[in-house]
């Protein structure tokens, strides 16, 4: 029977409720595997596990609920070990690294911020800032929309201005929020957001971070800001010694700020 792994925590971590369950249908009971000062949150892995809504939520729920009681390093969804012994073996082998990460992330939580432009609002903004675009728009409008070439020219200018605004806003969002975060992880650019940034935030000062996010929202009415958290610190578990080099780049970069230097094994 293979073993589904949700996360890694300290063996001193408060035990989750006995009836807590995880992935699978019927949901498999959550178990704890202890190895020295570490423990893994696991369950039996159901046959034919797929990334279905129910199982994604089960994974997320186990991490959210156990994470509320103390630091848990979240596994990526769908991590399955051949057996329990393999899990405890990994805990033993990389104990120092996991302990360091647990210490670094203790009392902290992840907030993910995604931002996009509200099209009409950003067009207004771009136009108000750029007399040339405004003049061209008015000329085209007077000419019943303008010729194909005129439209292309206007569109090209607008697109360039909007893209420049996207880049500026991405920087502004990050700059406004990072002073209230212990670390920042920038997500991949290609997911369709002008900004997709995760912040590692101290639970005790989360209010300050949220207030700053609210300020950004108020100060950028043309931006749509989506804030999610508190989340398990998915973006801050950092590639461990066990992760092959080169896989980190695809998921963005992690910048530690003000955190003690990590002792990498």
């Amino acid at each position: 029977m293979s073993t589904y792994v949700y996360g890694i925590t300290a063996s001193s971590h408060p035990k989750p409720p006995k009836d807590m369950t995880g992935v699978g249908d019927p949901p498999r009971p959550l178990r704890i595997l202890e190895e020295g000062e570490l423990a893994a949150l696991v369950s039996d892995a159901p046959e034919g596990l797929r990334p279905k809504r129910r199982d994604l939520l089960a994974h997320q729920n186990v991490l959210a609920e156990t994470g509320a009681a103390g630091c848990v390093l979240p596994m990526r969804f769908g991590s399955v070990a051949p057996d329990d012994t393999t899990v405890t073996g990994v805990l033993a082998e990389h104990a120092d690294h996991y302990k360091e990460r647990l210490l670094a992330l203790d009392g902290k939580t992840e907030y993910n911020v995604k931002a996009i432009h509200q099209e009409e609002a950003v067009l207004h903004r771009v136009m108000s800032e750029n007399p040339e675009i405004r003049a061209l728009t008015e000329a085209n409008r007077a000419a019943d929309g303008g010729s194909h070439e005129q439209r292309l020219r206007l569109g090209e200018m607008v697109v360039a201005a909007v893209k420049a605004r996207e880049a500026e806003d991405a920087v502004e969002v990050r700059r406004a929020l990072e002073p209230n975060a212990a670390a920042v992880s920038v997500g991949p650019d290609s997911t369709g957001w002008l900004a997709n940034v995760s912040f590692l935030v101290d639970r005790d000062t989360a209010d300050v971070f949220l207030a700053a996010a609210e300020e950004v929202r108020k100060g950028h009415p043309h931006l749509e800001l989506r804030l999610h958290g508190p989340l398990p610190p998915y973006s801050f578990v950092e590639p461990g010694a066990a992760e092959p080099a080169g896989t980190t780049g695809a998921f963005g970069t992690v910048v530690e700020m003000g955190a003690p230097p990590s002792e990498r094994s």
Binding site: P74, M75, G155, V162, S185, V237, G240, A242
Partner: protein, 141 residues
Amino acid sequence: MTVVPAQQTGGGGGTSGLYDVLELVLDRGLVIDAFVRVSLVGIEILKIDVRVVVASVDTYLRFAEACNRLDLEAGPRKSPGLPDVVGQITESGARGKSKGALSGAAETISDAFKQARGEGESESRPRARKSTAARRKEEQE
């Protein structure tokens, strides 16, 4: 289109916030070599590609048209945007707890997962007016 306030993602694990955090659950988090990962082939994550402004003739024409329709006299606040923009949200305050709110995304996620179950289909058209694209999320390794 209904506006569904997202539940706090930290506690009960609401489903409405799942779409936005899906990328974190599937793409981030600890990866350990000694473990295998469930195959993600077959999961269709709908990305709303209109959010990325791409330089193309179509985009130029679309933006030129949008400018023509824009009321230049109205301030940006006066006209907060298209009423059916996917995911247009209003978040009222963040008092202690975060409230991520989504609208279209809540439907989109269920579409995405329905599709993941369907597996055969490679494209779907959500009700949203914006153009959307189904993008196959392949396993990373």
